[in-house]
């Protein structure tokens, strides 16, 4: 891929990504959303966050790896417990990284 192709690729992705971000923010009010859809919006953050988290801590090289040997899984579960009990972001990230590094370096 030459430089021009790369620039075009990046610009097209930028444009598309902005279109996704802007889509409904721009269109809202120009049509009516059904009530059930509006109510379901409460569940967007937990659903998307969960779908981002679990493959990242369970999948390794295209395989499901559920084992106490998996440092991402163990550190992730401990971080989740802390996030749930304390609701502290900073504590969650520090302990999560700490456990993760302990597991890969010890």
């Amino acid at each position: 891929m030459n430089k021009l192709e790369l620039i075009i690729t990046i610009l097209l992705i930028s444009l598309g990504t902005f279109a996704f971000r802007f889509s409904f923010i721009y269109l809202y009010g120009k049509f009516n959303l059904p009530k059930w859809l509006r109510r379901s919006m409460h569940f967007v953050p937990p659903a998307v966050l969960s779908a981002l988290i679990f493959p990242a801590i369970i999948i390794k090289e295209n395989l499901i790896w559920i084992s106490p040997q998996n440092p991402r899984l163990i550190a992730g579960i401990i971080a989740m417990l802390i996030a749930w009990r304390t609701k502290s972001s900073i504590l969650t990230i520090i302990v999560g990284l700490g456990v993760f590094w302990l597991m890969i370096f010890l």
Binding site: M1, I25, Y28, S40, A47, L52, I53, A83
Partner: protein, 235 residues
Amino acid sequence: MINKESAIKGAKAVAPLMLGIVPFGLISGITAANSGLSMGMALLMSVGIYAGASQLAVLQLVNDNANMLVIIYTALIINLRMMIYSLSIAPYLQNLQTRWKAVLAYSMTDQSYAISLVHFLNNPKEDVKSFFFSASISIWLIWQVVTIIGYMMGSIVPMELGLDFAIPLTFISILFKGLVGWPGLITILVSAIVSVLASQLPMNIGLVIAAIVGIGAGSISQKLFFDGGEEIENE
């Protein structure tokens, strides 16, 4: 105009997440340098696309000499989730001018979106524009700066540190904020299972499928088992 108090609240809400965003931005800059991109090209990516996971996917595909259309398609599928964000946060932004809507849409990230939406659900009187803008732009600034730093450091930072784990950690750290009881937990569980099972589907479409199934599971379980009437209408 920007309400200072709300802006400070927004910046404070995302501040702890910088612990995860900084390492991820470094990785993004380092990877760009190691892929042979010029500094200008790396900046065009981080300012233009401004979505970390898709940027890393693009770099990997460029290294693999993938076809241009494949690269564009893959990046856009990864970013498709932004449409769901756009839909769910739209009601709070409806009274703003179009240029503000555009600015807020452009600067929205997973983290600033999730933090802000939950905050607006719990604080209906918040100055939405100031809070959301400040949350997003704080992350934007830090992201651009650390991307450049990462680019200049190149390969000094050892990849064995596994810094890519920092981003899932930022998501974990906000996962339970503003959770709506049992239906929220059901959402998390269903979405987790589907996302792992669907992770083998081509080019990250599994993420979007899992999110939609999870949202459906939460809504249906609330309707069937937990519905106390119309109490959480969000307008």
